[in-house]
Amino acid sequence: MMMKSLARLPLLLLLAAAAMPAVAQKLIHSEKSLYRDVLVYEERGERCMCFTRQCRIGRQSCLNLQNPKQFALNYTRMMMGGTLFMGPPPKHILIIGLGGGTLPMALAEILPEAQIDVVEIDPAVTRMAKRYFGFRDGPKMKVIEADGRVYVKRAIRAGQRYDAILLDAFDHEYIPEHLLTREFLAEVKSLLTPEGVLVGNTFSSSQLYDHESTTYAAVFGTFFNLKRENRVIVARPAGLPGSDELRARALDYELALRGFGVDATAVLPLFTTRTDWNTKARVLTDQYSPANLLNK
């Protein structure tokens, strides 16, 4: 793995050098947090939060500067669909991983009655979200500074339950491996209400795809597998809704979602349950979780 990335280095440098004069990418803010570099860039009317220099890969969160409500990234559209189309409007929502906070802000606007809890491990990310991405917390939007796994366990013990849990704690550089194991997903499952839904933003490529799929399947059985450049897994322990039900819910939110640049009905065809992975891939567990080594 090391050899491979070393071999890739000159190419990357070349690409970066070639890209720089062509695109006016402006660094707005950079900060070394406890965990990583948190960078805010502006480019072509978009402001993005990144964890790597020049935003080489993995933009965490982006904001359209002319129209801040428009979702700039595809995965947020799929996450919205997964959260809203599966059943009655969720009243209690847990989001693990804040990023720029565009997703929780949009959910708060569409579901003004909902109580949203966001768990973010890195206080610098929370600060940047507030300063540069218009994120606001309040009585209905609580940010908890904690490790996602620790919070989930604590919430289970406290008897809390959520109608929707959104996992958005991964980036392309580093996966917190204890958040991608059968045991963790089982904990998340037991934190859901009986009709509750899990929406996970994950990976669409690499060897990890197979392992991640069998791990989710081991805990949730059949799930919706929404794929664009990212992959969003939507699962419900009580069983998945049929296409008519999905469509009815999508139409309910059509107008509200249009305000965010999301065409609700265009997201619908992505809700498929087709198995397109190696079902023999080893399930990831607390004992076996080399997610970062598999993600290459």
């Binding site: 904690a146 796994r149 620790v150 366990k153 491996e177 607390d286 004992q287 076996y288 080594l293 598999l294």
Partner: protein
């Protein structure tokens, strides 16, 4: 000038034990991160607590090992130190499930929770591991003239062992095996080397 304590074969076993002890400590430390993560997360505090406990245990182990080496040092006793480190690492397996969960409930602060957990699981085996190196120095040093060189060689093999244990565990072992399997293999290897040291204890001069 005093006579050397060990034969050539004894010297080789001594270096091997020092190498392995370094390997063992770092292998266990990396796996420790894995074992603490489900209950305490993998925030910077958890790694800080883990590293601090290992450093503290090693430092006190060095003191104790040096002291212990003053009374009739032998390769057999070195083997016993290695065996003690392995045996006291065994409880890590049963302790890393529910007991850690309960500890996390009892001490919700992520820093002191993980510090206590690391203490409970890793202090004692790492303490015994720390005793190995200074004890080896005593066995290897023949006279004042060569003492620095011997100590240097010993630091070399033990720290080189640590580097090997770190890279093999984090790059390969976790990709191939479950955490408990790796731990048991490390413990098993220590036990074998302890037996080897026991076999060569007759080579004391």
């Amino acid at each position: 000038m005093s006579a050397p304590l060990l034969t050539r074969a004894g010297v080789a076993v001594c270096y091997l034990v020092a190498f392995w002890s370094g390997f063992f400590v770092m292998g266990v430390e990396l796996l420790g991160g894995r074992l603490l993560a489900p209950s305490f997360g993998s925030s910077i505090y958890v790694w800080g607590a883990l590293i601090a406990v290992f450093m503290l245990a090693l430092s006190l182990g060095y003191l104790a090992g040096g002291r212990y080496s003053q009374r009739n040092p032998s390769l057999g006793k070195l083997g016993i130190l290695l065996a003690l480190a392995a045996a006291t690492a065994l409880p890590v397996l049963p302790l890393s499930g529910m007991p850690l969960e309960n500890l996390a409930i009892a001490i919700p602060d992520p820093r002191f929770g993980s510090l206590s957990a690391a203490m409970l699981l890793f202090f004692i085996p790492t303490f015994f591991s720390g005793m190995v190196s200074p004890y080896c120095v005593r066995l290897l040093v023949d006279d004042e003239q060569t003492s620095g060189r011997r100590a240097g060689q010993l630091y070399f093999v033990s720290t080189f062992g640590s580097a090997a244990g770190t890279i093999l565990t984090s790059f390969y072992f976790v990709l191939w095996f479950e955490v408990n399997v790796i731990l048991l293999s490390l413990i098993g290897t220590s036990a074998l080397l302890a037996v080897l040291a026991g076999i060569f204890r007759g080579n004391n001069r």
